[in-house]
Symmetry: C2
Subunit: 501 residues, 2 copies
């Protein structure tokens, strides 16, 4: 490798990537294998990595490497890069400077305190959830909020505090833009709720072993390479990348919810296939910003695509019917399977929510956390406010905190600004799916023919391969020739209601 | 915590410990969860950690911290430590200086090359073993040997090259001493082989699920805390500590060997219970040398104690008979179970070997690796030499390299000097078990009464709690009032043969 400034920067980024992937390995183990008492030492390990990552990402050495690479890049007389490569390199530098500017102002002590507060938050949340007692979590939650507000203050960019915290998940997102996108959903979905009550519920279940077999068959169907993608169980399903050829997916078994693990597997597969399609895979931008996902909204659009557009389709039920039967499902035909997997029901749980009401779960969380970070909502009032807003928007109320405000892991890890990504994912997925069907045919037909490779190729060619070359709004516009709009999502919901209610 | 030189050194050691435990977490995941294609990136991660560990362990900063702590310690006028604490502190300093002296002479480039060679060695060995083709492994094996010989040269202490490499496993061990200990075994065991052929073999098997259940029940029987000790599967069973309250054990299912996973679980439990009993657990010497195991020989004595003295005892078979029956075993009485689990048979596989012939497997490996490191044995001649020596000592020959010289993982990770620990473990275990029975009664009686806690307490109080305060030879002498001798082990083998042949 030539001793260019560009390559020197690449070597530095590679070591940062090694450290980041070690962090991910520790996180994976924490959620899939670690004994409960290991939590406190794991927190020490994660804090050590977080401190070192911050030191690398905010060091003068790093800044000088970026600047030297930039100077070399702009020396157009001596630069023989082709236009597309040059654009990519410029974008990489732009993103690196943007991130460096966020990191450089952060007090290392704050970084350390935050890493510890996240571990403690997660640990106390687990106990609080188990005992359904918000008070156990409250002091750690208060700490996390205080520290993250301080973080936003130290970063001090052009965004409001909540927007600042949300930037790593959804770059360039503003509250004004978000409200505009979410507005039609908040207005229309509640009016659809009365219809949902007509959706027929099928009471049945499958043994954990059968669910596990079905998940495994599902991944085989999608073309999973077992030497590349590993599956495990964790309390909260997730997907994570531990190396350029090391992808992990988790799922979980929920009593009385025979589709829960199956849908979670499809969902996490969608995340994983996005990561597998990033240009890091080809090593072109490996360890560089362009080798990363552009936003969590786009990430969710990919997972939701596999969960809702593929697995919940009529032709998928037809194709997989015999697999369900052989695992003990007693439906008479695939229509019943299809109806059962698409069952619509107002519920208290976000992860188990149907497509129609899912958005309301997100609206409540998003508005609550904005009020926590920027408004005058006090952390101690979360249980009451949570229940009140569920009553208002969904017409139901949790009977305890475990099924209410303690159900999700995110806040316990200090992840504010993440929740909207889920709903943006639904919206993006709906708009992109229309374009996919215009380009390569109806999804139902593609599935009937087992054309998963064709679908993956389209997703990769239109979305994955761009990495962070463009942000999510530009990406959607480039693909669909239209600004992002919730119109496609809402009409998808209406047709769903027509089919099932 | 007071700002003493001692405490400053403690902070430094703690961070080293964090890094070391991250290494162990990566190793654990590599063997229990990682997809095959993840190997190359995992090697990058492990190399990064190895480089940083070496940097820390050989830095001037570290040396100065040790020296300042030593000066403070020897300032007897101002030192108010009680005698025992003072002795412990002095021993810690002595061991730290010893290790620093080993590390300081190592070229960082060699450390990096070695870390990479170990990963590549392990990867190529897996493939070679799968395909039963030594040639796939040979070039990486040659590299490893070359690099480790260079390492011994750079360390350049008073020991011979092989002894130098063996020191981390068995401190103060010399070839002369080892030959003396092993001599009676090499002379006597081959003469016992003809008798073994009379041991009755029971042909039966258990389903993987039943074996898994039995392993789980076994750990419950021993008093495992599920929040502290986690169990998983891996190609080669092992035990590892990932944090002061995070212990892991693996096992594996072998077709046609219904006791394999069960005995491996008991074995790894023994390793784990030693680690759990080290003074690191009480945090007294946590992150200090005294918080570590004194040698791999002692470590093996602990694992072999649980495998051979507990699980293979008559009263254990009596106690666990109904559990085996309920999992599908069809023996008529516990005597048959006892005879079956103690079956003696000359075989090719070390891990599955019986107690009598086990030592010969070790003798072959030990002599081969001494010839590789110090003699004129060429790596390419290993398959032939291996087969020749098996024929000579055990009277049987492998039909391929997979069941021959490729069966063990150790050499693929460059671990030379490790194998003797297994046989030393047998010898130590036999001598210590006699003392345990003199102190707290016959093992058979203790098991009959379910007195595992009493056994663990004795082991902890006589062995575990000393950490590295004394080396293995001194430890055995302190406990038994006698130098280490193979006499107890040989008479145990003779009584075994009387019982079963």
């Amino acid at each position: 490798m030539a001793e260019t400034e560009w390559n020197k920067l690449g070597v530095y980024l590679r070591e940062t990537q090694i450290l980041g992937s070690i962090h991910n390995t520790l996180y994976w183990d924490q959620n899939t294998g670690m004994p409960r008492k290991g939590a406190s030492w794991r927190s020490e390990q994660l804090t050590y990595i977080a401190k070192n990552l911050h030191r690398r990402n905010s060091s003068e050495e790093f800044f000088n490497l970026i600047k030297s690479a930039e100077v070399e890049l702009l020396d157009s007389e001596n630069n023989s890069d082709k236009k597309q490569i040059l654009e990519g390199k410029k974008r990489n530098i732009e993103l690196l400077i943007k991130e460096y500017n966020r990191e450089k102002n952060l007090d290392p002590l704050l970084v350390e305190l935050l890493a510890k507060a996240k571990s403690k938050g997660y640990e106390s949340w687990q106990e609080a959830k188990r005992k359904s007692n918000f008070d156990i979590f409250l002091p750690f939650f208060e700490d996390l909020i205080k520290l993250r507000i301080e973080e936003a203050k130290q970063i001090s960019d052009k965004y409001s505090p909540w927007e600042t915290l949300a930037q790593p998940y959804e770059p360039d997102m503003t509250l004004k833009w978000l409200k505009k996108i979410f507005k039609p959903i908040k207005e229309i979905i509640p009016s659809l709720i009365p219809k949902i009550k007509k959706s027929k519920k099928y009471e049945w279940d499958l043994s954990p072993e059968s669910q596990q077999n079905l998940c495994s068959k599902l991944l085989d169907e999608f073309g999973r390479d077992k030497d590349l993608v590993v599956i495990a169980k964790s309390p909260h399903p997730f997907s994570i990348t531990l190396g350029p050829e090391d992808y992990r997916i988790t799922t979980r078994i929920v009593d009385g919810q025979p589709f829960s693990s199956f849908l979670a597997t499809a969902h996490e597969w969608g995340h994983s296939i996005y990561e597998q399609g990033l240009p890091s895979q080809s090593h072109q931008w490996f360890a560089w910003p362009l080798g990363q996902a552009t936003s969590m909204g786009v990430h969710e659009s990919q997972s939701l695509f596999w969960e809702n557009r593929i697995v919940k389709s009529k032709s998928f039920s037809k194709r997989f019917f015999k697999e369900f039967i052989s695992e003990g499902c007693s439906f008479e035909n695939h229509f019943d399977l299809w109806k059962s997997i698409n069952h619509l029901k107002v519920g208290l749980n976000r992860v188990e929510a149907d497509e129609v009401t899912y958005g309301l779960h997100i609206l409540i969380r998003t508005e609550l956390e904005i009020d926590l970070i920027e408004g005058d909502l006090s952390p101690k009032d979360i249980p009451n406010e949570w229940n009140k807003r569920y009553k208002e928007l969904l017409g139901i109320e949790p009977s305890n905190d475990s099924e209410g405000c303690l159900q999700d892991v995110h806040w316990s890890e200090g992840a504010f600004g993440y929740f909207p990504s889920y709903l943006l994912g639904h919206i993006i997925s709906a708009q992109i799916s229309c374009q996919l069907e215009r380009d390569i045919g109806l999804i139902d037909n593609l599935i009937e023919d087992g054309e998963y490779e064709k679908i993956i190729f389209w997703l990769k060619d239109n979305i994955h391969k761009y990495g962070r070359a463009v942000n999510s709004m530009e990406l959607v516009k480039n693909i669909t020739n239209e600004e992002l709009t919730s119109h496609y999502f809402i009409s998808h919901l209406r047709s769903k209601i027509n089919d099932f209610c």
